[in-house]
């Protein structure tokens, strides 16, 4: 939406709140100011505006897609859990089931499926599916892929993908039928299958090194050119859903967001990933491109190190911190389709429920919690944040520091690092830092993905060691029945919201810039990108 619409929406919200008596004077002023900016911004740009318009000479060339993350080092689909990997693999491989932009599941390589018992599921496969190298796709390939992905370790070490699975045995019933059986019931099965690419059994048999060399999938595109920062995908005409509309898609990694934007505006790119909210306005104002946005399944939060003082085993103190942060302001800093977080599970996820209380900037409450925590202010700690990855992370951290120090309840040392150094600080032995700003992007809609790695002990990320949380997470993972799972996750969310091992503040905005020549391009809240149905005007 453009500035005008945003302004109107804000006004409508303000009115409603005012009527309901929820709006304080401060909030009202903020909204007015935001409205002013939203309208005044483009006006101020008048000075900079040039003639946007002359389209570059059109050509029926390939679609150019600029991404914001460096491509992964190799092509083993189970060798990483990096977003960029899943993004490009979505187009090179297929999966038994596929997730849609609206987060629903549709059949993929599996035409249909049914549950046989608590631990066993049966899948019926599509006929006439071919790999890029000509081989036919059969049940044997499913067996090899799922067993490898779910935890079998043929060469001694389990692959990273396995952390999302429970080990499964796959039985080949016939060429087109498989049965998956886990050691325990596996709740996230379908959601996890939705991100488990199907490889050829022959490739798997040849070993991991072979898998890493080049991707041989059944996907709508095959890999034509493989450079470190640039991948060219050519249409695979024998794709089981029919050939894609695009003949070629060029993926290019450009680390600087401004440069990506310039490329779009200069007509050198058709789609750019990870557009920052400020840039959205510029795209909207220009002719030839538009910005699309969605609230993603990524949660940005402040994680406590629960194995260190002062936050270890001190929930009231953590709640005091939560009451000393202006989470709403942080969301507004980021803008776009970012939403205020009200649970550790983001909006697009299954079984999520909004939680209360809405932790807001409330010094009285913070003081009360501090008293309950048995510590006297100011409490000192170090906040570690990263820059260069999440938009506005620097500003969010600066605001957090200001919030926390406003009432002299806390004394914060702010350390901002580039991503690699931040990772080092988070995971390194003996490194400082008691609170971290970070994000967790959910690749599936399954709640297990959102909490298991992060909040289950022995949490490398957060030093978690809460038995109750652990039990709930385990239960959720090993419960098959949806209704049962729902109940478990209800309890889990409540507990997490009370214990606050982390303070989520935002579900991230995901915006892309799309040239007007592109049709049928849709955003996935789970950060994957699919080009099968996308077409390019000549």
């Amino acid at each position: 939406m453009n500035a005008q619409e945003r302004g109107t929406e804000l006004l409508a919200i303000a009115e409603r709140k005012l009527r309901r008596g929820e709006l304080g004077r401060r909030d009202f002023l903020k909204l007015m100011a935001a409205f002013g900016v939203a309208v005044g911004g483009p006006a101020a740009l008048a000075g900079c505006g040039g003639d946007e318009g002359s389209d570059q000479a059109t050509s029926a060339g390939p679609l150019r897609f600029l991404v914001a993350e460096a491509f992964w080092a190799n092509w083993n689909p189970y060798g990483h859990t990096a977003q960029i990997g899943f993004k490009i693999q979505r187009n090179l491989f297929d999966r038994l089931v596929e997730v849609q932009p609206d987060m629903s599941i549709r059949p993929g390589l599996a035409e249909s499926w049914r549950q046989l018992d608590a631990r066993t599921w049966e899948f019926k496969l599509h006929p006439d599916v071919k790999f890029h190298n000509g081989q036919s796709f059969t049940a044997r390939d499913v067996k090899a892929s799922v067993e490898l992905a779910s935890g079998h370790a043929p060469e001694g070490r389990k692959l990273p993908m396995a952390t999302l699975w429970l080990p499964h045995e796959v039985a080949v019933v016939d060429d087109r039928t498989v049965r998956l059986q886990g050691a325990k019931p596996f709740g996230p099965l379908l959601n996890t299958l939705a991100i488990t690419d199907m490889c050829s059994a022959t490739d798997v048999a040849e070993g991991l090194k072979h898998l890493e060399q080049k991707p041989n999938g059944t996907g709508a595109f095959k890999l034509a050119e493989d450079k470190p920062a640039r991948k060219v995908l050519d249409r695979f005409d024998q794709h089981y859903r029919g050939p894609a509309k695009l003949q070629q898609v060029v993926w290019e990694y450009i680390q600087d967001p401004q440069t990506r934007l310039n490329a779009l505006l200069a007509g050198q790119a058709h789609v750019i990933d990870r557009v920052e909210p400020e840039q959205v306005q510029l795209i909207q104002r220009s002719q030839g491109a538009q910005a699309i946005a969605v609230t993603s399944a990524e949660v940005q939060a402040f994680w406590f190190r629960q194995d260190k003082k002062p936050f270890a085993d001190n929930a009231p103190l953590r709640r005091a911190v939560a009451s000393s942060l202006d989470r709403q302001a942080m969301v507004e800093l980021v803008g776009g389709k970012a939403q205020l977080a009200d649970s550790q599970l983001a909006t697009p996820l299954e079984f999520r429920q909004p939680q209360s209380p809405q932790y807001a900037l409330d010094p009285e409450r913070a003081k009360a919690e501090l008293a309950r925590a048995g510590v006297s202010p100011p409490v000192s700690f170090e906040l570690g944040g990263s820059v260069g990855f999440y938009p506005k992370s620097r500003e969010v951290c600066e605001l957090a520091k200001q919030n926390l120090e406003e009432n002299d309840l806390f004394k914060v040392k702010l350390t901002l690092l580039e991503l690699a150094a931040w990772i080092d600080m988070l995971f390194g032995k003996g490194k400082p830092g008691e609170l971290f700003h970070g994000g967790w992007g959910n690749l599936t809609r399954d709640p297990d993905f959102a909490v298991a790695t992060l909040l289950h002990s022995p949490g490398a990320w957060t030093g978690a060691h809460d038995k109750q949380t652990d039990a709930l997470i385990d239960q959720g993972k090993t419960t098959g029945e949806p209704a049962e799972r729902g109940a478990v996750y209800d309890r889990l969310q409540q507990r997490l919201w009370e214990e606050l091992p982390s303070i989520p503040f935002m579900y991230s905005d995901l915006s892309n810039g799309v040239s007007d020549k592109v049709s049928d391009y849709a955003l996935f809240p789970t950060f994957v990108t699919e080009f099968w149905g996308v077409s390019l005007k000549a």
Partner: protein, 656 residues
């Protein structure tokens, strides 16, 4: 000295720097708001004069609602402090290392230079990234270290170059001879001399480092919050340029102005402290302006000349000997002035002489007497800003003063040739001898092709008694001896058979034996070619041997003129007498050294009234200190300017 600093550009630079320092020191009082206060409702406010802007935030706000003006003021402090500290550090290290390298040379020098090479070969950005990006906090100290590490090389190299020159000087040798230790010599003698240079370089690098700090910030390597520098504001601005152009424009402008200011100041300092650095080239004295036409003097020369009554004895000296049409060169009333910072200096006043075709004229005097200036003005080679302001120079009847450059170029070399004192520096080191000689030919002889010119050049070299002229023609000036170099100059000058050759101290720079040889050869050559010669020298004996007529100059005026023989036998002017007396005192083999006359010539900027020689003249009278003597014609060819000879006593005064 201070006067040269007072230029608008330097003042502007100093003013900007002063503003920076004020901001740095008094940021708390100048900045209207707290630069760190985050006010999210006030994000992206445009500057106050634009729609949506607010008066309390004159330059707008940034992405967190912080006042841009306040951030710029605090940023000034950071940027200045970081850059200044870094420069101080790098200058200290660089100067010390450069000093050591240049002074001790040898292995020390090699080590420092190799270190510098490694430093230069290493891409700076990577170094900065390695130290800053990866090691966590980006404190001011770390940034200062990074900048200093990258910058010391510049200081070291420049200082080293200077020290290499200085260590060869007298005062250093003297100090060492007196037993001073190396450290003492370096720190007490050499260091103060090179300190001005070091200061200028430091100022220049201050500007450079301010820029570099902003580049680092642009790459995300700027100081961590809550620190704020212009670079970090600029980096924020780039990201948000779409909706907040002021975030990019103002810090960029601030950086630009600050760096500009420091650069201006550095230029001014360079002029004053170390003119050798010549950053702007504001030469006050020896500026050459090439394409400027020779200025037409304000006073028309002809007007000053009173045409002598026909038949009277009051004609300019030398004319009577030959007849008007036959005069090769006639200089009358020549006056040359140099405007300087301290006022107008008259280098030559009221000089008159004449030369017949094939005649030989000598001009004698001490250094500073104006003899070279006179010679140079004949062919218009005066160093700017010197100008001929009065008088006439007629060559073959044609007025040379005021002649356009292009026509003068045809006269030079072709009709009037000149050779200079030091042949070693008077030949172009990067052009072969043969080319330089042939060039004269191609310029002035029509229709001579390159091959033919080359042949003529070889011939000219043979003419000046150079054995194996072909080999010499193929050589460079530094490959031949001083004597051969001067012979080359002569060959170059005479290759086009000019009518007049002006030789300015042609043999002074050569050793005695060669001097004799060259003079003799020159004598024979000009005889053969029928060239008129003006020989300038401080050595009366040389002039005595070589010339028909002599002009004696002192302090820019003519003292005495006359036939050389007569002048030497019977000098009229006390100065000439003193010269002769001094020359006779010396042994014949010491010819070439000027005899000692007690006293010094007057400073041309402060000429007292009266006769210039009066302070040193043994026969000075009252009137000599009051009134300048006019030239008086004593006989046909003889004139003298001295109060000892008065109209009543000797004859009519010479016409001016």
């Amino acid at each position: 000295m201070p006067r040269r600093l007072v230029r608008p550009s330097v003042l502007a630079g100093a003013a900007i720097l002063l503003l920076l320092v004020v901001c740095a020191l008094g940021a708390q009082w100048i900045a209207p708001h707290d630069p760190h206060a985050i006010r999210t409702p006030l994000r992206f406010l445009p500057p106050a004069w634009q729609e949506g802007g607010q008066a309390p935030y004159p330059l707008g706000t940034d992405q967190l609602g912080r006042d841009l003006l306040s951030r710029l003021v605090y940023g000034a402090r950071t940027s200045l402090v970081i850059a200044a500290a870094a420069v101080a550090l790098s200058a200290t290290a660089g100067v010390l290392l450069g000093l050591a390298a240049g002074y001790f040379r040898g292995p020390m020098d090699a080590l420092v230079m190799r270190l510098a090479d490694v430093q230069l070969a290493f891409p700076f950005i990577l170094l900065a990234l390695a130290i800053l990006a990866v090691s966590g906090e980006k404190t001011a100290l770390r940034i200062i270290v990074v900048l200093a590490v990258a910058d010391w090389v510049v200081h070291a190299r420049v200082i080293r170059g200077r020290v290499l020159v200085e260590r060869e000087r007298e005062y250093v040798r003297a100090a060492r001879a007196l037993g001073a230790s190396h450290a003492r010599v370096m720190l007490l003698y050499v260091l103060p001399v090179i300190l001005p240079t070091a200061i200028v370089i430091a100022t220049l690098e201050l500007a450079v480092l301010m820029l570099v700090e902003s580049i680092l910030a642009f790459l995300g390597l700027g100081i961590d919050p809550p620190g704020v520098s212009w670079g970090t504001i600029l980096a924020d601005g780039r990201v948000n340029v779409a909706i907040a152009w002021w975030m990019l424009a103002f810090p960029g402008a601030a950086i630009f102005l600050a760096v500009l200011g420091v650069n201006l100041l550095a230029d001014g300092l360079a002029d004053v402290l170390d003119p050798r650095l010549k950053l702007t080239g504001r030469y006050t004295r020896w500026r050459r302006s090439w394409l400027r036409r020779r200025s037409v003097p304000t006073a028309t020369p002809v007007r000053d000349l009173t045409p002598p009554p026909e038949g009277s004895g009051g004609e300019p000296q030398g004319r009577a000997a030959v007849g008007q049409e036959g005069t090769l060169l006639a200089v009358r009333g020549l006056r040359v002035e140099f405007p300087t910072d301290d006022g107008v200096v008259t280098a030559v006043r009221d000089v008159s002489f004449a030369l017949a075709p094939r005649g030989r004229l000598g001009i004698v005097g001490e250094s500073g007497s104006g003899k070279t200036v006179t010679a140079l003005s004949v062919i218009g080679l005066l160093d700017a800003p010197g100008r001929v302001t009065a008088g006439s120079i007629r060559f073959k009847g044609r007025e040379l003063v005021g002649l356009p450059e292009r026509q003068l170029n045809r006269v030079r070399g072709g009709e009037v040739a000149m050779i200079f004192q030091d042949p070693g520096t008077s030949l172009n080191p990067t052009l072969k001898i043969g080319y330089q000689v042939a060039e004269a030919v191609t310029l002035h002889r029509q229709g001579v092709g390159r091959e033919a010119a080359r042949e003529q050049a070889v011939e000219a070299l043979r003419l000046v008694s150079i054995r194996d002229p072909r080999r010499v023609a193929d050589a460079y000036p530094f490959q031949i001896s001083g004597g051969m170099q001067q012979r080359t100059m002569i060959a170059m000058a005479l290759s086009c058979s000019p009518d007049l050759l002006i030789a300015d101290e042609p043999t002074t720079a050569l050793d005695v034996t060669t001097q004799d040889q060259i003079l003799r050869e020159l004598d024979a050559l000009v005889d053969r070619l029928g060239t008129g010669v003006i020989l300038i020298s401080h050595d009366l004996s040389v002039v005595a041997e070589f010339t028909d007529h002599t002009v004696v100059m002192y302090a820019g005026t003519v003292c005495e003129t006359g036939p050389t023989g007569a002048l030497v036998r019977d000098p009229k002017h006390p100065y000439t007498q003193a010269l002769l007396a001094a020359a006779e005192e010396l042994d014949v083999t010491e010819r070439g050294r000027l005899g000692i006359i007690p006293g010094d010539p007057p400073d041309p900027r402060e000429r007292p009234p009266g006769c210039p020689f009066a302070p040193r003249c043994p026969q000075a009278m009252e009137v000599c200190r009051v009134q300048e003597p006019a030239p008086l014609r004593l006989a046909d060819d003889v004139t003298v300017a001295c109060h000892l000879y008065r109209e009543e006593t000797v004859g009519r005064p010479a016409a001016r």
